[in-house]
């Protein structure tokens, strides 16, 4: 006969992914900080080297609260807030809610989660940048996951890059989900633009750094095969219950020697 049951509670799958991502970066020396969701244009745009009256602002269609106060369109303002308070070396990850005037559809939400990463010190190079993010990708997906970096544009990074990982659905052979390219875009990133450092009175000749922003919802959709971003906000208990108690180490973490492989418990020898 069946045993007694209890209702099972659990944290949201997006929270799980955020924690998992931040924990991986913690191993790489990044501490977790946060910043306000309502920002001034200065923090959200201009201190980040967005030119005034420039089409680069179009991609950041913002909700305004009045005056120069906007709901932040990315977590990048925390780069500025951190540089104003702390001296390098800086290594932070910044999870948080962001807002853009994108109507709801299967892949867009006016409100979404983002995780910013930011490192500034003497001697940080493009090689460190690639290595840190590639290490992350291999930890959260699998040790053999291929990554590629390709050119992009963000006013606050230069060189700028997007990081793609091998399509998690077709494995790289090309499918509808990856538009036949075999790759899936995971994050936007780059070396910190010297203008950002200058704006915060940090010597950009001496210090260099890198930064990135990624969408945990998108990563959750890729990894768990969730087809529609709206499911995250519906709070349908059937959806929430699917991810209860499923926190597992990322596919890229390993024991030196596994005490009891799970496969052995499940197969009779």
């Amino acid at each position: 006969m069946p045993g007694r049951r209890q209702w099972q509670g659990g944290v949201h799958i997006v929270t799980q992914i955020v924690d998992e991502i931040c924990d991986i970066f913690k191993e790489l020396g990044f501490t977790r900080v946060v910043g306000p969701e309502a920002e001034t244009e200065r923090y959200n745009f201009y201190a980040l080297n967005f030119p005034k009256d420039h089409p680069a602002l179009d991609a950041q269609d913002s909700f305004y609260l009045g005056g120069d106060v906007v709901l932040r369109t990315h977590t990048s303002p925390v780069q500025i807030r951190t540089l104003e308070v702390y001296k390098p070396p800086i290594r932070i990850v910044v999870p948080g809610r962001c807002y853009r005037r994108d109507p709801f559809d299967a892949s867009h939400s006016p409100v979404f989660e983002q995780i910013e990463g930011f490192a500034v010190d003497e001697g940080i190079t493009f090689v460190d940048f690639k290595a840190t993010l590639a290490t992350f990708a291999r930890r959260i997906f699998s040790p053999t996951t291929k990554v590629r970096f390709r050119p992009s544009y963000f006013p606050f990074t230069e060189p700028s890059a997007e990081m793609d990982v091998q399509c998690q659905i077709c494995g790289g052979s090309g499918c509808a989900a990856c538009k036949q390219t075999g790759w899936m875009e995971i994050l936007g990133s780059g070396m910190v633009h010297p203008a950002v450092l200058d704006n915060c009175k940090v010597d950009s000749e001496k210090y260099t750094g890198f930064a990135w922003g990624m969408g945990p919802e998108r990563i959750a959709m890729l990894r768990h095969g969730i087809p529609d971003i709206r499911l995250f906000f519906d709070s349908d208990v059937r959806f929430l219950e699917q991810f209860v108690g499923k926190q597992e180490p990322g596919a890229g973490s390993q024991d030196l020697e596994s005490p009891t492989p799970r496969s052995r418990l499940l197969t009779s020898e």
Partner: protein, 796 residues
């Protein structure tokens, strides 16, 4: 940005493959959203030759044709007047599907069976019908697929061009990047029938006023139009474009209008120079005046809309009124029409932010304004003008009697930027030989020359994005290939920034709520919704009225989620959320105040059903009640404000604590729903007191139960406060055992029984009965004095 594969092939003089272009562009410069084959809906169409044409026996305007479609001769009924024996036409055999989805069947037309269809250009989606069916000039034998014989098959490569790279908004710019990838060179194709662009290069006059071929030109706003070129072409014949031109424009999704308009559009998509042609006959003066618009000056733009201009906008005017909103859109009045014979041709550089503000103020975004606001190549204007004239004269006739006028009050030299080898390796982490740097930069048009220990790099006019050293370093990195840099982890110094306490607090709260065992699921609701309080903060530009305010509380959003779940037929719902809420700041222009809140909603059965409860229906299961709410409220207060005090709410229902409350909620509930409860508290962030070790007791405790009679208005919490104070350190625990109302008790009172647990605070001594009796009577005395509460007498 849509580019055509065939157009790129013409510029690079080599065959290309759509998917390969996409991959190379993505790795080198910009991602490609899609590669879309066009005219694939013509794959069933064949080349066919008409062998014989006879009159249809039953219809004057139809003919019967014997058609060789490669696979034997078939009879086809045709209604076109131009069908002729010996000629070649596109042919859709029986079973073929035409653009628009029409599937051809064998059918009788006026009594004669027709085995297919000879097609017109319109039926194939290739343009307007001229004389009837489309006569082909091809050597391909009958039966050859139409797409193989006629070069209309093409692919659109849809490039996601970033805001800093206007040079990629034309075929030449994209070809320039592909030339690096393929080791090819870019050469503009010769215009059929053109003079090869051999028009005299004009010399800029030093005065802002001049005349060209009888048209007076005045540049009064050099700030808005730093460089302005104009030419007059007289004697053009406006008409349809030649097929090659119409096909080019069609391949990038542009409609062919007439030869003049098409010529200017061709130049735009080929070399990125927006051109404007207008009718000289409509110009008062005739004059062209480039000036700021006067306040409220009106213009009816090409789209037929009347628009009011402001002094912040640059206008191209005749002697009296605006004819073009500079860089944005022309007027209906001076539009080139069938009757136009003389045209004025403009090629200009308009100030980018001026164009952007103007376009936004008027609500217009055009192909031209899109390019001007990103910045076009100011240095390339004469070349663009020469090519445009060459194209127009070759396809529309006419002549340029005087060289174009070039008004450029402050001529600019190409920009130079210095690049240090050491900075390249400092940023990229790899030493790159100077030779390689030079080679990479020159491949895309930079001119690099050593100067001292640096490279002096001249930036081509089409790269307005390159203004400082780091821009050149990005060029080096991307042209070398991001993949060429290693990704080895190197040592790093730990950072100076400590973890945010609020993140640790939220994580702990989530974990403790989950661990409470009541099955709470975390929800993440939208922070935007309808107003949830009188001072809710409004979003100035919301997407919809339902999402026009920021939340000041979490509960309303959670209740909407409960209603959503009810609508799905779920009865047992337990949700919590931790998140930011917003309150107005003292000064309205400041950022709002942000607080972290925790909220919980509960409804439905306390436990899942189990067979030991008998075959009871779900409705017999105990539902959560007000005491489940209080349990969660106490938990929430304990987590968010440790030491916070839970009290019955002053309103008489539910409970409250500093910064929070818990009540039964009203909601839009279905009949079968259980009562809904909710609580919300403010999360305090701060250090948690260090836990001090308590000695473990070695002596058994002494238990005493006391039954008290409480009048209305006296709360259990008040009684406990007095008991604890009077009981002092020896009273280790106090717990309610029972509540009783009814017979034997005075009206309006209740009996409550507490269990008191006494212990020696030092944990070493056994307490004596006498000690306890004395303490208990002091406690009861205090109750009587302070609250007028007495012991319940054993019932008589």
């Amino acid at each position: 940005m849509i580019v055509s594969r065939r157009w790129l092939e013409a510029l690079l003089s080599r065959p290309l493959e759509g998917r390969d272009i996409a991959d190379r562009l993505a790795r080198q410069v910009a991602p490609v959203d899609a590669v879309v084959p066009i005219h694939q809906d013509l794959r069933d169409v064949l080349v066919a030759r008409v062998l014989e044409v006879k009159q249809h026996p039953n219809a004057d305007r139809l003919s019967l044709c014997q058609v060789d479609a490669g696979n034997g001769v078939v009879e086809v009924v045709c209604g076109a007047p131009n069908v002729a024996a010996g000629k070649t036409y596109p042919f859709a055999p029986v079973g073929a599907t035409l653009p628009g989805g029409l599937k051809l069947e064998r059918r009788k037309i006026r009594g004669v069976e027709s085995n297919g269809m000879l097609c017109s250009a319109k039926e194939l989606g290739l343009g307007v019908d001229q004389a009837g069916i489309l006569e082909l000039t091809t050597e391909a034998p009958p039966g050859t697929p139409f797409l193989e014989a006629i070069p209309v098959a093409d692919e659109q490569v849809i490039i996601d061009v970033s805001a800093n790279r206007p040079d990629l908004l034309c075929h030449k710019g994209v070809a320039r990047e592909l030339a690096v990838a393929y080791g090819a060179t870019v050469k503009l194709p010769v215009i059929p029938g053109g003079q090869g662009g051999q028009h005299r290069t004009p010399r800029p006059p030093d005065r802002p006023t001049a005349a060209v071929d009888g048209v007076e030109v005045r540049l009064e706003d050099p700030e808005g139009a730093p460089r302005y070129m104009i030419a007059v072409v007289r004697g053009v014949k406006v008409g349809p474009s030649p097929a090659w031109l119409a096909t080019r424009l069609q391949s990038v999704g542009q409609r062919s209008v007439n030869n003049i308009v098409d010529a200017t559009n061709y130049i735009l998509f080929e070399i990125n120079q927006p051109m404007h042609a207008f009718d000289l006959a409509k110009l008062r003066g005739p004059a062209v005046v480039v000036r700021r618009a006067k306040p409220d000056e009106a213009i009816v733009t090409l789209d037929g809309v009347s628009r009011r201009l402001t002094a912040e906008m640059t206008a191209i005017c005749d002697a009296e009124r605006p004819q073009i909103v500079a860089g944005v859109m022309g007027s209906a009045e001076s539009e080139v029409t069938e009757s136009t014979t003389d045209i004025v041709l403009e090629a200009a550089y308009f100030q980018p932010t001026r164009v952007r503000r103007t376009g936004r103020a008027l609500g217009i975004s055009s192909e031209s304004s899109y390019r001007f606001e990103r910045g076009i190549d100011m240095l390339a204007l004469p070349d663009a003008m020469a090519r445009a004239i060459d194209l127009i004269v070759s396809i529309a006739g006419g002549a340029v009697r005087e060289p174009p006028l070039d008004l450029w009050p402050e001529p600019q030299q190409p920009r130079s930027v210095f690049l240090r080898d050491a900075r390249v390796s400092q940023l990229l982490g790899v030493a790159i030989p100077r030779k390689e740097t030079e080679r990479l930069l020159s491949a895309v048009g930079f001119v690099a020359a050593p100067k001292d220990d640096r490279l002096a790099v001249q930036v081509p006019g089409w790269r307005p994005d390159v203004t400082r050293e780091v821009d050149l370093i990005e060029e080096v990195a991307r042209l070398r290939g991001y993949d060429s840099f290693p990704d080895e982890l190197r040592p790093y110094r730990p950072g100076t920034v400590p973890e945010a306490p609020s993140e640790l607090t939220l994580r702990r709260i989530r974990e403790r709520l989950i661990a409470s065992g009541s099955g709470l699921l975390e929800a993440r609701t939208l922070p935007l919704g309808p107003a949830d309080s009188p001072d809710a903060i409004q979003v100035k530009n919301p997407l919809s009225a339902e999402e026009a305010f920021l939340r000041s509380r979490l509960l309303p959003g959670l209740v909407r989620r409960v209603e959503h779940n009810w609508a799905q037929g779920h009865r047992d719902i337990r949700l919590f959320e931790v998140g930011t809420v917003f309150r107005p700041s003292v000064r309205p222009s400041d950022r709002p105040t942000e607080e972290l809140h925790l909220a919980v909603v509960l409804t439905g059965a306390r436990h899942p059903p189990h067979w030991t409860g008998g075959s009871q229906s779900d409705s017999k299961l105990p539902d959560m009640d007000i005491w489940d709410l209080k349990r969660h409220f106490e938990l929430a207060v304990g987590l968010t404000t440790p030491g916070g005090d839970v009290q019955p709410a002053a309103s008489g229902s539910g409970w409250e604590a500093l910064g929070g409350s818990a009540i039964r909620l009203e909601a839009d509930a279905p009949r079968w729903a259980a009562p809904l409860f909710g609580l919300e508290v403010t999360i305090g962030v701060g250090p948690v007191p260090v836990v001090k070790y308590q000695p473990l007791h070695t002596q058994p405790p002494v238990l005493r139960d006391i039954s008290l009679v409480l009048r209305g208005g006296v709360t259990a919490a008040a009684v406990e406060t007095v008991l604890r104070r009077a009981g002092g350190s020896m009273l280790a625990q106090l717990e309610v055992l029972d509540e009783y109302r009814g017979s034997g008790l005075p009206e309006g009172t209740r009996g409550v029984t507490w269990r008191c647990t006494f212990r020696d605070p030092e944990g070493v001594r056994t307490l004596t009965d006498r000690e306890i009796d004395a303490l208990l009577s002091r406690m009861l005395k205090a109750l009587e004095d302070e609250l007028d509460v007495q012991r319940r007498q054993a019932s008589a």
